[in-house]
Amino acid sequence: MSEPLKGVVVSHAGLAQSLVAAAEAISGVTGALVPVTNDGCDGGRLQARIGEAIGGGPAVVFVDLPGGSCLTGAVRTARGQGHGVAVVTGVNLAMLLDFVFHREGAPAEAAERAREAGGRAIRIAPA
């Protein structure tokens, strides 16, 4: 059986830490997600943080915005890895909750599933 994917959540300020805490509280799954903040980082330092969070295995990196320093750091790090790392933008709690229960398979497949799960969660509630 292959190693389960790790999820790394990269954000501005404390958003990643809060999202991971919320996902763990709701799902009961711990250790699947690692938060990374860009606070106080230049590009190189942020890449080092993301690389350390990914570790040596396959991973999906969840980024808050579809552009900017977090995305840049995530993509640069992913390109430098010798193993599979996929990057998804627009992270939300729904996609993380889906991910922690579906960490098998290739990172690209998990990233696509996360994108769909996150998108399905965006709705206008009936008033």
């Binding site: 230049d42 552009g67 900017g68 840049t72």
Partner: protein
């Protein structure tokens, strides 16, 4: 003059630039001056992802920027010129006499740098380069977002 801000920020195009400055200034273009990004298609694609419709992202080497700076100043749109480090901005300033003001928006910690402000870390050598610009009449200050006070170099580089 349509170049509203000449900014040094090692994160290059990111949230503070697009939202913090882009919204209040009504930016029409961002000229990213960086030899490395200019030579990398995938990096340009990556930075374009963060730029909303209505803002043009221009990628230029230092040489290209020196040649095009006057054109950017005449552009009817509001522009922001962005570099990632002190060496790049000093190289550009040396070739663009009309560059009179530089804003340090984010120069973060690296080995050898000392914290000068929460978002500005500089080596003594980098400070010397910035002081040389000031001596030539360039106004150098630090300001991460428009709502913050612009802090003159003399205040944080003692």
């Amino acid at each position: 003059m349509s170049v509203a801000v000449v900014r040094v920020d090692d994160r290059l195009i990111h949230g503070q630039v697009i939202v913090g400055w882009g919204q209040p200034l009504g930016l029409g273009f961002i000229a990213l001056v960086d030899d490395g990004v200019r030579a990398s298609d995938w990096e340009q694609d990556l930075y374009k992802m963060g730029v909303p419709p209505g803002i043009e992202a221009i990628f230029a080497s230092v040489d290209e920027a020196a040649r095009r700076f006057a054109e950017w100043e005449r552009d009817p749109r509001v522009g922001l010129v962005l570099t990632g480090d002190i060496d790049t901005i000093t190289a550009l300033a040396a070739r663009v006499p009309s560059l009179h003001r530089i804003t340090l928006g984010g120069v973060h910690h690296r080995p050898g740098r000392v914290e000068r402000l929460r978002y500005v870390y500089l080596t003594d050598e980098e400070i010397a380069k910035l002081r040389a610009l000031v001596a030539r009449g360039v106004e150098v200050s630090a300001q991460d977002v428009p709502t913050a006070r612009a802090v003159p170099l003399a205040e944080f580089a003692r």
